[in-house]
């Protein structure tokens, strides 16, 4: 039973290496290889699902599964822990990336080096699982780097100029952030003598009392490095490029879960310094979150490229989550966690829809987009209503809980900021939605284009047959959003457990 924890990390790792073997040029026929890859990927995810399924009942009954790597004592060795919080995050991550994988079967087919894509997909899963499960700061850094490296590669897998640029920009800034994270870990080790979160937490209490500026420095380093990776506003610059230039399934993963992983790290790190310290920094974090909310929405408003718009919208949604973390009361934290879940479903769905729509219309310009099929358009509407926070969709519930928590904690202004941002986001999402309906305008433009004889814009994502592989994941996500909106108590129970058991 307890081996489940490590197996959650090892399964994707082994799948990645097996997939990597299929990427070596063989004399085997391409279709056979493709089938092998699909089989491997599906079985990898199936393994993860089975593992989560076996751990689920234990974790959800409030149990905490711990694991000592190599049997070393936690003071020396690496400890892993699966509690309700990490279980929730892991479930979201596996769910979303499982669905996205089906989408990318069809989507990434025309890209070269598909085997490499799958390999790094699973390496990314390894990184995520590792970050979620580890209780060791240095180990967290290593897994963050594994995650980061595979993400850089996945972004560049579009193999266009923009991909490389976006990837390198992310790489440079991400490495800078990792450096700061490592510095924070180093200082922490230097002053507490342990890298294990539980032991270091005991040590840090004394530091907070005796030497508050060191604690503040460590905390600032953590916030800046994790904040950069999750796109907090003055540090978000890499995000729109990376998220919009990556192939759509990768963008879906980046916005949907990779951002949340670093937010999860923040949830782990912020209460680490003890409640007293937390009280002091809470307004700062909350106002950083509010700045992120406002900045993200305002920047999204002027975007013409749909994926850039979605990326900036991710920034603002992350801001909402960080605001919730910053407020720090149980209810706000609950809302923030629920928003992580909801935003993962909604934003990945939006990016997948955007991928299909970009295919169908051959352009990323919002005014020239076409809706794909009515089903996709309907899903897009569902997702965007969710992100805007309109009932009866899941986004509303979590936003409301965060706002409620803000008002309860006397941060009325934060609730106002979040709601105003929802209003602005409503306007830019519906600018996209309304283009689906202005059919006549689109046809006119099409005719004009044909008359002039000019070619469609040379977009990296050229038209492709729309297959069920691409459609069904989108529908599943839309249905999940709707169900979570209609019956939020299912998600809220898990979130509540995560707050009480894991958020300590």
């Amino acid at each position: 039973m307890s081996h489940t924890v490590i197996l959650l990390v090892v399964t994707p790792l082994m799948t990645a290496f097996l997939l990597s073997m299929t990427a070596i040029p063989h004399k085997v026929a391409y279709t056979t290889l493709k089938r092998i890859r699909m089989l491997l990927s599906v079985s990898g995810f199936a393994g993860l699902c089975v593992l989560l399924g076996t751990a689920g009942p234990h974790v959800l009954s409030g149990e905490v599964l711990t694991y000592q790597l190599g049997g070393w004592s936690p003071f020396l060795g690496i400890a892993l822990r699966l509690d309700a919080l990490s279980f929730l995050m892991a479930t979201i991550a596996v769910l979303v990336s499982f669905l996205t994988m089906f989408y990318s079967f069809s989507y990434m087919e025309r890209m070269r080096g598909l085997g490499k894509y799958d390999t790094f997909y699973f390496l990314m899963m390894t990184g995520m699982m590792g970050v979620l499960l580890t209780r060791d700061f240095f180990n967290m850094y290593v897994f963050l780097e594994i995650l980061g490296l595979s993400v850089y590669i996945l972004i560049s897998s579009g193999e266009k100029k923009e991909n490389y640029k976006a990837s390198l920009k992310y790489l440079v800034l991400g490495s800078l952030a990792s450096g700061l994270f490592l510095l924070a870990v180093g200082i922490l080790y230097h002053v507490t003598g342990s890298l294990n979160m539980d032991y270091a937490a005991q040590g840090i209490q004394g530091i907070v009392e005796r030497n508050p500026s060191v604690a503040a420095l460590v905390f600032a380093l953590f916030v800046v490095s994790l904040g950069l990776k999750s796109g907090v506003v003055p540090l978000h610059f890499w995000l729109p490029d990376a998220h919009s230039m990556a192939p759509s399934p990768v963008s879906a993963l980046l916005s949907g879960i990779v951002l949340k992983i670093t937010v999860y790290c923040m949830i782990r790190v912020v209460p680490f310094f003890g409640p007293q310290f937390y009280q002091g920094v809470s307004p700062v974090i909350a106002s950083v979150g509010a700045a992120t909310v406002l900045g993200g929405t305002l920047l999204a408003l002027s975007q013409k490229n749909i994926k850039r718009m979605l990326a900036y919208s991710s920034v603002s949604q992350i801001g909402i989550i960080i605001t919730g973390i910053g407020i720090g009361t149980d209810i706000a934290l609950k809302g923030a966690l629920f928003h992580i879940l909801n935003h993962a479903l909604m934003k990945s769905g939006l990016f997948l829809c955007a991928g299909i729509m970009i295919h169908q219309s051959g352009t990323r310009d919002i005014p020239h987009l076409r809706m794909g099929t009515p089903g996709i358009a309907a899903s897009f509407v569902v997702f965007s209503l969710g992100v805007v926070g309109i009932p009866p969709l899941n986004g509303f519930v979590s936003k409301f809980i965060i706002c409620y928590g803000a008002v309860k904690a006397q941060y009325d202004g934060l609730a106002f900021v979040i709601l105003i941002a929802s209003l602005i986001s409503c306007s830019y999402y519906f600018r996209v939605v309304q283009t689906f309906f202005s059919r006549r305008q689109g046809e006119k433009k099409e005719k004009r284009r044909k008359k002039k004889g000019e070619k469609k814009e040379n977009d990296p994502e050229t038209p492709l047959q729309l297959s069920n592989w691409m459609r069904i994941p989108v529908y599943i996500l839309a249905v999940l959003c709707l169900l979570l909106g209609l019956f939020p108590s299912v998600g809220l129970k898990a979130v509540e457990l995560a707050v009480t058991v894991g958020g300590g």
């Binding site: 490590i6 290496f17 097996l18 990597s20 190599g70 049997g71």
Partner: protein, 138 residues
């Protein structure tokens, strides 16, 4: 193609010694400074030396072979960890300690060897990739 005869001769002379040194570093990793990664890097740099001296060409040790070895050794590394679970201990636990196969450090030399292979071949793949890229006709 390649550099002067001095370099070529020196390379021919040095390469086996470097290989041997790499293996030494890997195998004694558990009792002295060194280990899988360091030894692997030395192993990998042998090929780099050849490339510099003789120019880039794909010999018997091809890129595909290298990546295959890399993947297999990585898989085996994970397997060694999993064996720890199979024998009833934790992942990556040193299950060989106290058994008949113990050489004094349990699984550590085994793990070091696998890491060395993995790192060495990874470097080889890396050099192949870069050199192929630089050497190709635009």
């Amino acid at each position: 193609m390649g550099m002067s005869i001095i370099v070529k001769t020196a390379t021919r002379f040095l390469a086996p010694i470097m290989l041997l040194f790499g293996v030494y570093i890997i195998l004694t990793g558990h009792v002295s400074p060194g280990g899988g990664f360091q030894g692997g890097v030395i192993l990998g740099s042998v090929l780099l030396l050849f490339f510099i001296a003789f120019g880039m060409r794909e010999g018997r040790f091809t890129e595909n072979l290298a990546s295959l070895i890399e993947d297999v050794s990585a898989l085996l590394l994970v397997m060694v960890g999993l064996v720890g679970i199979l024998v009833g201990k934790e992942f990556l636990s040193n299950f060989l300690v106290g058994s008949a196969l113990d050489t004094g450090a349990g699984t550590i030399p085994l793990v070091n060897t696998l890491i060395g292979l993995k790192v060495g071949t990874a470097f080889i793949v890396l050099f192949y990739t870069f050199f192929k890229y630089m050497g190709r006709k635009p």
